[in-house]
Subunit: 130 residues, 2 copies
């Protein structure tokens, strides 16, 4: 069996967490996401399907989220590192601009790394009071 040595999962994880702690989520997408990344949310809608494909679509989704939400604080815990996957916990304190509603939410993201790039992200939610 031949294997290709990928960039270390831990290195990609550390870089992602560092950028997100600085609020540089869009830089993280540009630098660390594979062009054909798959992103999976727990719940989809007509405008925002649960499964999205491609770095450009994910970047637009993130830009839209930051436009719609005023971020008062975000805490980034981790990374939690496995073999070809790692997890990160995010705690947000945000105000949704259209509704004016302030809310706190926690989520965990599970990332899959291949050849030094993130090829898959999947989100798991914890919403107090939901």
């Amino acid at each position: 069996m031949t294997t290709v040595t990928p960039a270390s999962t831990a290195a990609v994880a550390s870089e992602l967490v560092g950028l997100c702690r600085e609020g540089r989520n869009l830089d993280a997408i540009a630098e660390l996401y594979a062009a054909d990344i798959v992103s999976i949310e727990p719940i989809g809608s007509d405008e925002m399907p649960a499964e999205m494909h491609g770095r450009d679509a994910i970047r637009q989704k993130n830009e839209g989220w930051f436009e719609n939400n005023e971020v008062h604080a975000v805490e980034v815990a981790g990374p939690f590192v496995g073999e070809d996957q790692f997890a990160v916990r995010y705690d947000f304190d945000v105000t949704n601009r259209p509704s004016g509603q302030r809310m706190q939410m926690s989520e965990m993201a599970l990332y899959t790394v291949k050849d030094g790039k993130i090829v898959r992200e999947q989100f798991f939610y914890h919403m107090p009071g939901a």
Copy 2:
């Protein structure tokens, strides 16, 4: 500053995952959970509060879950290891006995380790079609 060297987070994580892969979840609770563990689910009810305290309460919750659900398959991914926390992903294929409804669900658990025991577990859900 004095520090107490805890049993490695990775060692506890590996032990938990090994037991859960064998379906020995109750053994994992008995062996690895601190007596005063805190368990946090995303959503609570009158019968099952979101936040529960104590190993005995958590064991009863787990026993109840296994009584109410027929487990066809479970996949345990990870562990994903951080400093004093680690994450595990679980994918269940179960039939809820009271309703007869079969469903697939994914969750991530984030565990906090202190002095070689799990002192906190928090669950994050991904339910396709929810």
